[in-house]
């Protein structure tokens, strides 16, 4: 057994000194790992690269756009702890978006916007910052304005419950990169769903004001719920090829989880129908009016410097 030292002689004021035996730098964290190290990046047999790329863009855009919306809370949240929690969620989603967009670019470079020669901007950044609104394939639940804290919690709950079910299936994808991204994402989304579920319960059982705001947020977001389970042609093709997941098949499991949260909170499921117009609008590149403003804010700095230098 190695020499056991817990404190340096004069170090009784250091809260971290006794924590990690023989290592007072424990607070710097240990074991940084890259979950995608060594994953095979070739496109599986029998899979159309363009289909795979578009499918990755769909899932990536969902995360990218919602990350941007949640990041609007950074510096504006009701309390320091909420600020960090929401920023953490936004960062988790941004990480998923980056990996998925990179996968899309690697599968089919044709969709990556062209930049001036010699620009060092990586492919996933080009996809994120140099595509226009009609080329974004996210669902509209991700892009609508954030509203107040209760509405944000409802949105995170709905989105993460759906996406967690999707990623659990996606971790069995024939595409090794998608499977790895999904396996990593499952851990993140489990926490997001748990966090949002906890807050949903607290707000629902809290004061009259918190409950009112929660129910209003739920009613306003519910028309966008059906879109999550509509199957786009690309999703159907990806699911048939074994690399993607047909979202229609997730409805039963997702509803079961959501019903648990609603029951515990004493909230009845809303009955409003989907938004008028086409069911699949987001997946086809048709977005809400506010999406333009979101994109403008997200992309303005990158577009001003396509050579990536200033």
């Amino acid at each position: 057994m190695p020499d056991v030292r817990t404190h340096e002689p004069d170090e009784h004021d250091n809260a971290y000194a006794g924590l990690l035996v023989n290592d007072v730098h424990w607070a710097f964290g240990t074991d940084f790992e890259d979950p995608l190290a060594g994953v095979d990046t070739t496109v599986p047999d029998g899979v159309d690269p363009a289909t795979l790329a578009t499918y990755c863009l769909m899932l990536g855009d969902d995360a990218l756009v919602l990350s941007q919306r949640i990041a609007e809370w950074c510096g504006n949240a009701p309390d320091l702890e909420e600020d960090i929690a929401l920023s953490n969620i936004a960062l988790d989603l941004l990480g998923q978006a980056r990996l998925l967009l990179a996968r899309a670019a690697a599968a089919d470079g044709a969709q990556v916007p062209a930049l001036p020669d010699g620009s060092p901007v990586p492919d996933e950044d080009r996809l994120a910052f140099f595509r226009d609104a009609p080329q974004f394939r996210n669902v509209r639940l991700a892009e609508v304005p954030g509203g107040d804290f209760a509405r944000t919690i409802v949105r995170i709950l709905l989105f993460s419950t759906w996406r967690l079910a999707l990623f659990e299936e996606l971790s069995r994808s024939r595409d090794a990169v998608l499977a790895a991204v999904a396996a990593k994402g499952v851990k993140e989304l489990t926490y997001h769903r748990d966090f949002a579920g906890r807050w949903f319960l607290t707000l629902a059982r809290g004061t009259d004001e918190s409950r009112r705001r929660l129910l209003t947020g739920l009613d306003e977001l519910w028309p966008l719920w059906a879109e999550l389970f509509e199957t786009h042609d690309v999703e159907r093709a990806a699911a048939l090829a074994g690399v993607g997941v047909d979202p229609a098949g997730l409805a039963a499991d997702v509803d079961a989880v959501l019903d648990q949260v609603l029951a515990a909170s004493g909230v009845t499921r809303p009955v409003s129908g989907p938004l008028p117009g086409t069911a699949l609008a987001g997946r086809d590149g048709q977005h809400t009016a506010e999406f333009g403003a979101l994109l403008a804010e997200m992309q303005v700095v990158a577009r001003a410097h396509p050579r990536g230098q200033w």
């Binding site: 817990t6 990690l20 320091l80």
Partner: protein, 98 residues
Amino acid sequence: MTGQVRGEWPLYEVFVRGKRGLNHVHVGSLHAPDDQLALRHARDVYTRRNEGVSIWVVRSSAITASSPDEKDPLFAPSGDKVYRHPTFYEIPDDVPHM
């Protein structure tokens, strides 16, 4: 819900145990509406750099602490009692770690 509305959430003390640590160590405090959310907040605020494997949160009002004014009566008398230290024995060379 009954009870008065207060301006701030209750305070919680956070204890984290590291991967290779032997015990939970106090790392700070935070505000949260209830115990379960305090745990989530502690995870978000105090374990961002892969520091911990276990978190304890305790409501600060549940902790009874000694007062700095009582430092002398509580701690000074143990300073001059040399017979409480195990330093009068000769340890044989082949007994390790003592």
